[in-house]
Homo-oligomer: 194 residues x 2
């Protein structure tokens, strides 16, 4: 079945046959339709989701209805509301499918038991947590220090696949600018290039 996630974990820890099997069996494959929410405010995020195929956006709606994109994720990335998942508290984020997608879901209890029973799993989850943390930090930094245009250029060169795949409003909101402004930045580039 999902050899993809085994390839993934194999990059971090070496599992034997049995462990691989155990690991796989903790995940459930779920199809998610475009626009469907997999996490919703006030509900506890029960799963951590590995995206087999698809694209998701995690966002908050502020008190005045402002939409802030916390995260965008596509194939081979993880997504959930970590504050909700890790502490098993009601979520504050929405996580929505931007296209028809397939995810592998592991639930909180299963993850806990994996980590408890085998050091390797503990290691694996630590590594992805650390990487997630580092990623968030880079992002925060880039938001604080770079201009809107730099942030966009930076994003394009780092994640060209994502740029082509997600709607512009999602990207603009992720990069912390209005869609109008992003639209202009893009046009400027195009006229420069030609």
């Amino acid at each position: 079945m999902s050899s993809k996630i085994l390839d993934y974990i194999a990059k971090f820890v070496k599992l034997d046959e049995e462990e691989a099997h155990l690991f796989c069996n903790c995940f459930k494959e779920v199809k998610v339709k475009k626009r469907q929410l997999i996490v919703q405010p006030n509900f506890i995020a029960k799963h951590r989701n590995y995206i087999l195929k698809g694209a998701f956006r995690a966002y908050v709606i502020g008190d005045e209805g402002q939409d802030h994109t916390i995260n965008i994720a596509i194939d081979d990335w993880w997504i959930t509301d970590y504050n909700s998942y890790i502490y098993q508290q009601p979520a504050t984020l929405f996580v929505v499918a931007l296209e028809d997608s397939t995810v592998l879901q592991i639930d909180y209890e299963k993850e806990l038991s994996l980590k408890k029973q085998n050091h390797k799993f503990e290691t694996f989850f630590r590594i992805i947590a650390e990487r997630g943390l580092a990623f968030q930090q880079r992002r925060l930094l880039s938001n604080l220090t770079q201009s809107a245009e730099e942030r966009y250029e930076h994003f394009v060169s780092n994640y060209p696949q994502i740029v082509q795949r997600v709607p512009q409003y999602a990207l603009a909101s992720y990069l912390g600018m209005t869609t109008e402004f992003l639209s202009r930045i893009r046009n400027k580039r195009i006229s420069k290039k030609s």
Copy 2:
């Protein structure tokens, strides 16, 4: 505030000032955007929803992706996944807004306490449950005994407001036929009439 639901309950039990107040305070007014889900499989349906204004559809997606509409509801009707709500078990249904809507939500615990503390509330919830049951039975019967065309005619004469308000695919699926077939039935009628 929501005198509408007081008018509603007044049809069934007579409440004094204080009871009315108590009852009202158990409900929260919530706006729901078109296409938003208020119940989703795998999540527990925490609320019973009284539709102040709007339209909803409750449906299941079968194993092969077949979409069965369990219920359609508009202004002044109730909707939720009752199997999930009553037993507080994970839902199997989707309940989606067919248009921008406003509902009054009561949650399970509050409803429980209303019913426990005052006989009248117990009576009220019994009555709406009985009526719901009777309605479901009529529907089941009509599905078993009538032809697609009869079911449609029947529905049109009983709920003309709904017919005009919900998309045809929803109605077709509710009436247990394909949208193509419903489309044909409708055309037949029109040509008959003129």
